[in-house]
């Protein structure tokens, strides 16, 4: 039975509103924590700044993904229309000057590759999909997708200490503070 050891994941504390979460986040940030997160049912405007987070780098992924699409479409069209299967149709030349006729497909593949890069880039950045997470063991965490606002500070943060972190969360207005454990 209870041969599994429990490992502490961290503290979970509830806050009463978006603005309370926002103010608490500023204090956790200023206390110097790194491994922590704010949980809310919807994205809160400006919380990135309050948590000291940088702007997402996803657009860079998508830029290169999109350019790959453009290049793929051009290569596909040019190779087939000019190099290996040149045919004169619609009085358009079978050389590079027929490129305006390739623009629609180049545009569409740019969008298609960008779309896929958004999907897979996002999943890589947010480290999903995953089937389980220690926080799902909490009895109150299910409210994070309904009407609950939470802060979780992880035990692997160097500044984490069982007593002081709990006090900090209580001090900045956290309620229902809970020690979340995961099976090791």
């Amino acid at each position: 039975m209870s041969t599994t050891r429990k490992r502490v994941y961290g503290y979970l504390a509830e806050f009463k509103s978006a603005s309370a979460l926002y103010k608490a986040a500023e204090k956790v940030r200023d206390a110097g924590f790194r491994k922590w997160d704010c949980y809310s049912p919807y994205p809160i405007h400006g919380l990135d700044g309050a948590m000291g987070m940088k702007r997402s780098i996803l657009p860079w992924f998508v830029f290169f993904g999109g350019m790959t699409g453009t290049a793929t479409a051009f290569t596909l069209a040019y190779t087939t229309q000019v190099v290996i299967y040149p045919t004169v149709v619609q009085a358009k030349p079978a050389n590079i000057f027929t490129i305006p006729a390739f623009f629609p497909v180049m545009f569409e593949l740019t969008i298609l590759f960008s779309g896929f890069t958004v999907l897979f880039g996002l999943l890589a950045l947010i480290q999903l999909p995953r089937l389980n997470h220690p926080l799902f063991a909490s009895n109150q965490f299910h409210r994070a997708t309904d009407d609950g606002f939470f802060i979780a500070i992880e035990a692997r943060d160097p500044k984490f200490s069982p007593a002081a972190t709990r006090d900090l969360l209580a001090e900045i207005g956290g309620a229902n503070i809970e020690l979340v454990e995961e099976e090791d």
């Binding site: 978006a18 603005s19 704010c38 919807y42 298609l112 997708t145 309904d146």
Partner: protein, 488 residues
Amino acid sequence: MASTTQAAPAAHTGVKLPVLEREKLILNGRSYHWITERICGVVENKQPLLWWLLFIPSALIAAIGVGGGLFHLVSTGVGVWGNTNRVMWGWPIVNFVFWIGIGHAGTLISAILFLTRQNWRTSINRAAEAMTIFAVMCAGIFPAFHVGRVWFAWFLAPVPNANAIWQNFKSPLLWDVFAVSTYFTVSLIFWFLGMVPDLATIRDRAKPGLRKILYGIFSLGWRGGNRQWSHYEMAYLLLAALSTPLVLSVHSVVSFDFATSVVPGWHTTIFPPYFVAGAIFGGFAMVLTIMVPARFVYGLQDLITMKHIDNMAKIILLTGTIVGYAYLMELFVAFYSGAIYEMDAFKFRIAGPYWWAYAAMMSCNVLSPQVFWFRSCRENLWVVMAVAMCVNVGMWFERFVIIVTTLARMWLPGDWKTFSPSPQDQMLFVGTIGMFLALFMLFLRFLPCINIAEVKWTKLESDPHFDDKEHHPDHGAKPEAAYQKELA
């Protein structure tokens, strides 16, 4: 509607004029929990009788019309369709353009209105995006089988084949293949990513069991942490920015199929904007057709308010008028060009044997939306539904007019034919209507039909500075706690 006024904020310096109060997107100050309950309730509770009354017949019609119809078509040959004469695009391409147009409203609502920060989109975007997906699925059936031998439809894809023949990348028909398949794929990604947080909401409410496992898998393990939301919002913004030119390109490319051919009545430069406006017009009509009844059946009046319906009616009025302008401009250009073939093509449309189709198109698309100039008509849901139905019919006739009347009178008089759809033609079209409705009913049954996270986001108190008197002296004046107490 927005007639009440409030005093200007105290912090405001300068001339104090009364401020027109912004209409609320969520009525009765509903709480977050109420929103979750109400929207998830659609999925979690037993479906009302009306759902079954709509689902069973539409699923049967889809099975007979699409399943049976296509089986008959493939086993017999594509000659069972009515387009065995010069009207070779006939009914299938009319239906293809009709369905693909329906989808455009979904992308407009989810992408263009997102970029322009129209927060009212949040209540209707999910259902409209679902319509996009289902409409494009219906649309795709027609060209796939219209190629003749459907088992060779893979020739559309640029892959090496035994004949060493490559696709013609200069042809709008190939552009169409890329445009429509990209449109479907990106719309699907947009729809799915938008739904992930809401699927997590349903997962978190489910009792352990199959439902929790399935919604757990499809919600990808979403936790709603800001380190996820931050990237997620960027992804959403990027998809909106990608979908906006995409949706404009799709119907433009569809219109190139016509506009690049040297055929009187098709060979015009006005086609791309005219087709895009028409697509958005027809799509919004379909959104209203479905959402107005759905908000009553599922009690969503506080989330899909009269304000939303008012806005959609105004968009229908605007795009309908643009379409009307395009119809008239086509006539003017035909006259002004001095080309007798162009003039004859339009004379034939208006006064030829298909005059009834032209009259239906004009009255349904141009005249019927004009009632939306009057507020009383935008507020009367019977009028709104009647106009939406008119537009659905009118937009179908628009495609019929463009395709059939033109092909029935091509260059050679020996080719002139009068088109009539065969029973198989009609069966397949009715089948796709059934398929569209059946898929939408399944969507209502299994997926969150309103974007829960985004609707919550539009509440005033969702702003973290809501109670900050220094920055927002006008906020917090009307505490919503009173309503929440009542609901608790």
